[in-house]
């Protein structure tokens, strides 16, 4: 993980927070493409898919922990987006709508799969230190030593109740603001805060060995 990537995740929530506190509304960068798509231009929808596929796939993969399932659900999410495009209300950003559709798709699949299967897969990954998750680290050394930690973190995520997992993935991984998460999941901001808080504590409990270790040990890389 490079410094730049870490900083973007740290900064992004603050930027989003600023927008939520009544600063100037961030214009929707997808507005033009969305208008063209809703007017019948399917190529514009293709551009929207390419533009948002990374965030959709990331969200779904973190929720399901299985690449094959995530690919399937990501496709279903975009098909659902296409099917229900006319429900998009332009008061919110299109990306919020995308997250809502993707979140629903992921939650539905997770319910279908069941937490038991998620736990079984998480256990298998812990035991094998399997690289079910694609790793594109910038530092080759961290790939070898950090993959087990990543697998444990992902496994711990899968053990969380779906609503807590979704909140913490959207906030701490996807960098969305409380307000955007509230809009995407159609819940009050207070509920978003509560879920993030509970999710962090639950994760901390599951990752005790990592979080209580010295920082250099938990990072798994040379400082």
């Amino acid at each position: 993980m490079t410094y730049e990537m870490v900083e973007s995740r740290v900064v992004a929530p603050a930027r989003a927070q600023a927008a939520g506190r009544g600063f100037s509304v961030i214009s929707d960068p997808d507005a033009e493409l969305v208008e063209r798509w809703l007017a019948g231009d399917e190529a514009a929808f293709g551009d929207l898919v390419r533009r948002h596929q990374r965030r959709v796939f990331s969200l779904v993969l973190r929720m399901l922990g299985n690449r094959e399932e995530a690919e399937d659900v990501a496709q279903e999410a975009f098909l659902s987006l296409h099917r229900h495009g006319r429900r998009f209300r332009r008061q919110a950003r299109f990306s919020t709508f995308v997250y809502r559709v993707a979140a629903n798709a992921a939650l539905n699949r997770r319910r279908t799969l069941g937490r038991k299967r998620a736990r079984e897969e998480a256990l298998a990954r812990r035991q094998d230190a399997g690289l079910d998750l694609p790793v594109t680290p910038r530092d080759p050394e961290s790939a070898a030593s950090g993959s087990q930690i990543q697998a444990r973190v992902q496994a711990a995520l899968l053990e969380l109740p779906p609503d807590l997992c979704m909140a913490i993935v959207l906030y701490d991984i996807e960098g969305q603001s409380y307000r955007d998460i509230a809009d995407a999941l159609r819940i009050p901001e207070g509920t978003v805060k509560s879920r993030i808080h509970r999710a962090r504590h639950a994760l901390r409990d599951r990752l005790q060995a990592l979080v209580r270790a010295e920082p250099e040990e938990s990072k798994g890389v040379a400082s």
Binding site: M5, E42, V49, Q53, F78, H82, P134, Q154, I173, V211
Partner: protein
């Protein structure tokens, strides 16, 4: 200070969501409370572990696969008829327009009451109406006719059912009347 209350705010403290005053109070407590300080450090490391997860690469063919499925006809927006058919179910094989036309007359859910004398004069049911007074009369009449129709249908009095439907004066209720006349067994099974 109340430790559970402090710990309940640690997440917001970490995210800089507290007011300056709240933050100041928490700072003062954290300086003196090793337990709460340790909890904050653990939360920080938990968040750090999450944020260090790498960005997964989507499959290179994802967009292509989505567009191919769209071109094959998947995920097209539902038409009104398709949505009605999906919601109402296969029991109603008539078109969506027929269902809408029959709604006031045939689909009103009315409790079975003691049978009333059938009127020999059954005028057309207005269906929807623009004025409030006419609408009430139409709904009342529609309910009466619905009760009668159900009563006759339960008794197997198909000719009476067909007559009531034809008397409703709507082309789609006339269509349903034809079903009763030509295939009453099927029609009653899906009523």
């Amino acid at each position: 200070m109340n430790h559970p209350r402090i710990r309940a705010r640690l997440s917001e403290y970490l995210d800089r969501k507290l007011s300056a005053e709240q933050r100041s109070k928490l700072d003062a407590h954290l300086v003196e409370c090793s337990a709460c300080s340790a909890e904050l450090r653990e939360l920080e490391r938990t968040v750090d572990l999450l944020r260090r997860l790498p960005d997964p690469e989507p499959p290179p063919y994802l967009a292509q696969a989505v567009m191919a499925r769209l071109e094959s006809g998947e995920a097209q927006p539902e038409s009104l008829a398709q949505r009605l058919r999906r919601v109402v179910g296969p029991a109603f094989a008539l078109s969506a327009a027929a269902l809408a036309g029959l709604f006031v007359f045939a689909l009103v859910d009315i409790d079975i009451e003691r049978p009333t004398e059938a009127s020999t004069t059954i005028g057309p049911v207005a269906g929807t109406s623009e004025t409030g007074g006419e609408s009430v009369r139409s709904v009342r009449e529609a309910r009466r006719l619905a009760r009668l129709t159900r009563l006759h249908a339960r008794r197997g009095e198909h000719a009476e059912v067909a007559q009531l439907l034809r008397g409703a004066g709507h082309p789609h209720s006339a269509l349903l009347a034809t079903h009763f006349e030509h295939d009453p067994g099927y029609t009653l099974a899906v009523w």
